[in-house]
Amino acid sequence: MELTSLTILEAGRLLRRGEVSAVELTESVLDRIVAVDNQVRAFLTLTPELALEQARAADERLTAARRSGEGDLPALLGIPMAVKDVLCTEGVPTTCGSRILEGFLPPYDATVVARLEQAGYVLLGKTNTDEFAMGSSTENSAYFPTRNPWDLSRVPGGSSGGSAAAVAAHEALGALGTDTGGSVRQPAALCGVVGLKPTYGRVSRYGLVAFASSLDQVGTLTRDVADSALLLSIIAGHDAQDSTCVDLPVPNYLEALSPEIAGLRIGVPEEYFGPGMDPGVEATVREALGQLEALGARLERVSLPHTSYALPVYYLIAPAEASSNLARYDGVKYGHAAPGADELWELYKRTRGEGFGAEVKRRIMLGTYALSAGYYDAFYLKAQKVRTLIRQDFDRAFEKVDVLAAPTSPTVAFPIGARVEDPLQMYLSDIYTLSLNLAGLCGISVPCGFADGLPVGLQILGRAFDEATILRVAYAYEQSTPWHTCHPSLSVGQGADPAGC
């Protein structure tokens, strides 16, 4: 048994029984990182000393608990995990994949990070991301692109590509990501792992460096659905420091898991099987739908008629918010400051000119334009109205069905460099994920097979605050299929060896 390929729950059981120590587990994951991350390049920052320190502390607690017979230990005690570099970690560099935050050491932890810490996790490091989470391939990272563990010549998806690749390549037992338009689900699909995007307001955004505040949500990347349920139970819940975080009770998502979905109504939105979709992806997803039916679920065709507007609406609202959120990076208080600027406006212009990459600049300009006097009504306000229509599409669909099922991404992982020159083509990678963010609902991507030897994701979309149901459907599917047991080859052009699953 490889320690690095354990799920969080499996590792937790071994740790509690004393069959493995947290230091052993952490060391083997750190060894794995040393062995493979020069190829995968999932991490921007590694924190091995901190990790071993946390692991030793976890071992002390585990030992003491075994001696005293205490059973009530924190759920993540001694579990090595990775955190996307857009989440603030006190004293640990947080760059958002941008030059402009190079060297920034947050003086505080994001609420989700604090909750993981309370649960006893071990921080391995910060994972690569498209700059400020703007992108779908992790190629917009100002530092380096991350590679897909299933084929190192391909992208892992994005923007949480570092977290997805780290989990897929066994460089972490689980990871946090963020999802603004698909940034957890799409890389999860492309890397063959489970990616959960909770309902907007389910998880605190405090300490998540904002890209688009009305869309951003922290999510999880794990090897299986049960681990997602466990992590959500830990990070979800009210936070007095985030006014958009809802004060609703947090169910025990793990206990709510059941492989039983007979009679459940699953809607299949016809708009999510449109042109531009890889035939291999479509065939794989249709087969997965058949499996859900075989499990006793009732499939129903539904329509989300405003789906085609989601992309333009998203690319007005998200950049508009981003143009304001990113105004604070001016080189005065933290991060990159252009050297030699001796006048305020020169400092601003040069700092931002040097510090931001092309995609970030493109979106700041788009957003600034959309909010400008004379254009606000036609662009931003109109987009908000269409956003309401998109939400109503979902409301109507959920009157008839319990969840929706669809592909996560229209294609499998594409070659590095294939779309960097064509932003529109890149934006289309999120065509099936960003409606959910606009509507503020929850979704999960679960591995459902392979097309051309590369992973394909099945997306289950749910009602607001009904994570329990999408987790249940994903779990039932996962437990009846072998896909979550497949491991990547970490080579170029090899893809999966389905026989190995």
Partner: protein, 481 residues
């Protein structure tokens, strides 16, 4: 036809809340060392999020109610985007489309004429950091960043500098009555912007804005200057440019800051970090019930109930603490001491002592009950007015009750004829010359003799009684001779 100005005002008032607008840091930044009251939220650090201060909302709604405004049932915070180092997020959280309060008015009275100045809106926002320019660099103190700031915008309803002075004076008084603002302009607790256009009656002028005015004096002086400047231009047949002006405090002149073309586009949009705020009408009604009697209503009542002059009523009600002192004194006053007498002593003698020693009414150790006890002695003739003032001064310094001071100083007035008659006789005997003049009918010498009686009694003689006794003694001598 003469030119006349049309003036509107924007008043920024810091709210006296304990914590800042969107975080838990202390809002009382005045004496704190630079950058000692800051956190990720007011510093605008990446990932930090705002949370609305309920007390600031309450203070703003209270102000809106005092200014006769409609209170919003749903209100929203918006981002006002502009880059400047004193704005750590690159935007200010303010209110644009849905302010907390709108469509109100404040009544002012100038030269006996009452007018309502309409209030367009009252909204809530956050203060900026304090920027200090020193040689070769600029210093930033973020203690002030995020302090709750209320903006009160009037309609352009004022047409003279006197009206503006009255408006800001009234407004300051109302805010202090409500306890929402300190009114301390030296510490920047109230800051002003005016817009003024000059035109012939019935015509429209061009609006010029003057920003960054930090005192009533700056408001009135800059307006006088700007009205004169625009009038001069118009009289020469020129036209006024639409510009934003600054005010040069030292040279007392306005200077152009930016033209209309340079006006910034703030790209306002609803702050996605703050969901819309719904105000419960019952909660608003609760605040309405808590509204104190406001200065103008109080002043009118003082005139009506106590027959005070408009001027005295105005002076007594300008500060809530003074009015409360006055009302407590009136309530405690025994027969013979009326509100007018209390008003005279309060606005005359007590205010003189407060001014001389730079004390506010809260710092005066005299209780309203002790004040009226003193006035009762004066009214009953047990104490001369002069002695009363002397006693008040000692009460002001030591806080001792008047009876104690009077006894210690032996100041009780001599109103006993039997006690005073021998003194009068002695004075006449010792002053034969003046007595002869008095007997010869030279009345003015009576004042000299009065002075001698007062000297002999160390000022304790009842003056009316002393005068009568002097005249009676002289009469007896006249008859006797």
């Amino acid at each position: 036809m003469p030119y006349r100005p049309t003036i509107g005002m924007e008043v920024h008032a810091q709210l006296l809340t304990r914590s800042k607008m969107f975080c838990g840091c202390s809002a009382d930044y005045w004496a704190a060392p630079p950058n000692s009251q800051v956190c990720p939220v007011d510093l605008g650090l990446p990932g930090a999020l705002p949370v609305i201060n309920a007390r600031a909302v309450e203070a703003t709604v209270l102000t809106g109610l005092a200014l006769n405004c409609e209170i919003a049932s749903v209100t929203r915070f918006d981002r006002k985007n502009y880059p400047y180092p004193d704005l750590p997020k690159g935007y200010q959280i303010s209110q644009y489309e849905l302010p907390l309060c709108r469509n109100g008015w404040l009544e002012i009275e100038v030269d006996g004429e009452r007018r309502r100045i309409r209030i367009r809106r009252v909204h809530l926002e956050e203060d900026t950091a304090k920027l200090t320019h020193v040689e070769g660099c600029s210093l930033l103190d973020f203690n002030r960043a995020g302090v709750p700031l209320m903006e009160i915008v009037s309609e352009p309803d004022m047409h003279s500098v006197d009206e503006v002075r009255e408006y800001v004076t009234q407004l300051r008084s109302v805010l202090r009555y409500l306890g929402v603002n300190s009114g301390d302009m030296e510490k920047g607790a109230m800051r002003f912007e005016v817009n003024v256009s000059v035109a012939r009656e019935g015509e429209r002028g061009t609006k010029v804005e003057i920003k960054n005015l930090n005192s009533f004096r700056a408001v009135t002086r800059s307006l006088e200057y700007e009205i004169a400047r625009q009038t001069r231009i118009l009289e020469r047949g020129g036209h006024v440019e639409q510009v934003t002006m600054g005010w040069d405090e030292d040279r007392e002149l306005t200077f152009e800051q930016r033209s209309k073309e340079e006006a910034p586009d703030y790209r306002y949009f609803p702050d996605p970090d703050l969901p819309p705020l719904t105000l419960d009408p019952a909660w608003v009604d609760g605040l309405r019930a808590r509204l104190p009697e406001l200065p103008r209503a109080k002043a009118e009542r003082y005139q009506r109930e106590y027959g005070l002059s408009a001027y005295d009523a105005g002076v007594l009600t300008a500060e809530r603490a003074v009015a409360e002192f006055f009302e407590a004194a009136v309530a405690a006053a025994p027969a013979g001491v009326d509100a007018k007498m209390i008003s005279n002593w309060l606005t005359g003698e007590l205010f003189r002592l407060m001014r001389a020693r730079e004390r506010s009414i809260e710092q005066v150790p005299i209780t309203p009950r002790d004040l009226v006890a003193l006035l009762e002695m004066v009214a009953a003739g047990r104490l001369t007015g002069a002695s009363g003032k002397e006693v008040l001064e000692e009460m002001f310094v030591t806080g001792r009750p008047p009876a104690e001071v009077v006894a210690a100083r032996g100041l009780a007035q001599i109103s006993d004829e039997a006690a005073l008659r021998p003194v009068v006789e002695k004075v006449l005997e010792e002053n034969p010359g003046p007595l002869a003049e008095l007997l010869a009918g030279k009345e003015p010498v009576l004042r000299f003799l009065m002075g001698q009686v007062m000297r002999a009694t160390r000022g304790q003689a009842n003056p009316q009684l002393a005068q009568r006794l002097l005249q009676e003694a002289a009469e007896r001598r006249r008859r006797a001779s």
